[in-house]
Amino acid sequence: MSDPMTAPRAINGRAPDVFREGGWVEMRQFSETEAVDFVVIGTGAGGGPLITRLAEQGFSVIGFDAGPYFRPLEDFASDETTQNQLYWLDERIVDGDNPMHMGGNNSGKAVGGSTVHFAMVSLRFRPEWFKSRSLLGYGADWPLDWREMWDYYREAERALSISGPINYPWGPKRPRYPYRAHEMNGAAHVLARGAEAMGYKWTPTPLATVSAPRGDSPPCVYRGFCRFGCSANAKQSQLVAFIPRALAAGAEIRDLAMVGRIETGADGRATGVHYFREGRWRFQRARNVVVAGYAIETPRLLLASANDRYPDGLANSSGLVGRNLMTQSNQGVYGSLKDEVRWNKGPPSLAVTEHWNYEDRKDFFGGYCWMSQGPLPIEWATALTGSLGLWGEALRERMTRYNHQVGLKMVGEMLPNENNRVTLADETDQYGLRIPRITYSWGDNDKVLIQHALGEMQTSLELAGVRDTFRQEDDTNHLAGTARMGSDPGSSVVNSDCRSWDIPNLWVCDGSIFPTTGGVNPSLTISAIALRTADRIKALAARGEL
């Protein structure tokens, strides 16, 4: 078996068949000297659906990914440490008052992006969040209408065969989820017990892992290593759900291909991308370039592509590329039960309450949800050292209560702030490219929201009979912002079609375009917007407006 980390697999007219050990599928390949219709940089929650849909519409498309092309059945161990291979672990400098922890929390480096290791939580935004400035008084409005998004959410949920409840307890009516909800584990039942004690609704979490067979995907076997890659292919990552469709529709995927610079021509339009693959720099010509590298790599590439015509970086006449970076608060509360919970069984977040996303009687902006938890040993041990400062015998003793632990973690909205940003450091990486510096400080509203959530989660656990509760105060996850979407070129980077205001054939299609981040996991929204963007591109092409 070749090492996917050192030699590309998607070459010689074929790509790995992720569903068959040692299998291959045919792959179309394009020449570097002939311009393809679209180069898409990144194959995750944004790039994956976009590449697929563009190819299905008949465009010539190449999807670039800096990471390897994994074969989950053969390459994925049931092991926290080995599976660090899925993360973006290249050096990044973090600073600010609350430096962000990068890596497994929020960054993937693989065909499929971070969806290869995401926790599969697939929630819709609350409709008002698309107009949070006008309707809720904070952040910025999106140039999108929630009713249109509701249709694209539906498409994304179908494409990913989301397993979820028959009736979702919050927000406007939505259709039944395509697959039945998963059985809840003990940790999820404790969430339900606590929510009911507080008078809050809860539901089995809509998840992108199938509860019944789907094509070549078998149903989830509840092994619980979801965040370290699904070795069974039950998880509907981009690697499994969309990319095979893209290949079948004639797209090319280039793995282990790091794009370092976007080139622009005399007319100011993008002409292609410089990328490093198989030991040397190469150039691919393209009629359109879509950046889908997520909220760190996307602004990094746009800034690094600065040239004489665009000295501040591409698409940056607003000065907002790299600014308004947002993460989400991911604090938790944990404790012990007399019962054996064995929280590692099954997907980690099988139950959720969105109560505080839909309840506005509170003294801060933004919302949050919380979910049941199932950290594996290393994650749990480092939570104990980080939150309680435990080490020595005290840590080992506490770890032996692993099967009795239970907990809740929030996904909370942080507000956009221009000073939270991505810039380029002077230090360079293995490709010779300047590494990103990520500056982040929590605002007052962020801190109030976090404390509110910690109090609520702690009360709910205690009402559920959980003892010895403690708080994990410092965790964050998910990314957004840095190339925000808007209706005015002066205050945004891209328009509602994810098209940059400055360079009409340069697009951004990932979580970077979020003006606000909401209180739910972002991946389903990213994918829904990608599907919309593909439809918009088709419509613009039909009108000769590309």
Partner: protein, 212 residues
């Protein structure tokens, strides 16, 4: 420390449907990690080994975990975390400074090398680092609290809890592919999971654990 899971050895499942080939390979590699340092000098490695021995003491009755060798391997293979605090140097340099800093503290407090101190004296120096109280030329401005909490503690603990000895000791099911789990409810144990001993049940539980 009481053994809550008598007779449980996660490695018994190595040849069962709970372990696939890729996982067997990964854990075999981990069990055979070279015990000699390949990144740190023998001198610094001795300090690291002593510190790891206090941060995560070894169980007396299970195979020892080569924590320091696993940390050295991480450095040797340049396995990074994906981020670096602006106040911290690159990980290898952080260890060179921090470990020398422990030795300097041992010299100035006790006139001896860190590795040769009594456990209680070693603990005291580690606790000072945790509080950010260590300083001096060896540190070159690196905050000792950052080194202890965000470098040494995380690396040592992550190494220990990546080892089957730790999984057995805490009753963790370990690798679970392709078999996965069936019994999801509270207080339900799949027959291939560790059984926990309550007083008086040790013999029955030992039998259960020998048949995972």
């Amino acid at each position: 420390m009481t053994d809550h899971f008598p007779g449980y050895d996660v490695l018994r499942k190595r040849r069962t449907p709970s372990w696939d080939e890729r996982t067997r390979q990964a854990i075999n590699d981990r069990l055979s990690v070279p015990r000699e340092p390949r990144f740190l000098s023998p001198e610094l490695f001795a300090i690291l080994a002593a510190a790891c021995g206090r941060i995560i003491p070894q169980p007396p009755d299970r195979p020892p975990v080569p924590v320091a060798a696993m940390v050295d391997t991480k450095l040797f293979e340049s396995k990074r975390d994906g981020y670096r605090f602006a106040s911290m140097p690159e990980q290898g340099e952080a260890y060179r400074r921090g470990l020398r800093g422990f030795d300097d503290a041992a010299q100035s407090l006790h006139g001896r090398r860190f590795a040769g101190l009594e456990p209680a004296a070693q603990d005291q120096i580690l606790a000072s680092a945790q509080k950010g109280e260590l300083d001096g030329p060896a540190w070159q401005g690196m905050p000792s609290k950052m080194f202890f909490e965000h470098r040494l503690l995380i690396d040592a603990v992550s190494a220990y809890y990546a080892h089957p000895t730790a999984w057995s000791e805490m009753g963790f099911g370990g690798p679970a592919s392709p078999r996965g789990y069936v019994r999801m409810q509270l207080n339900r144990r799949d027959p291939w999971e560790a059984a926990e001993a309550k007083p008086g049940e040790e013999d029955r539980v030992r039998w259960e654990n020998e048949h995972v």
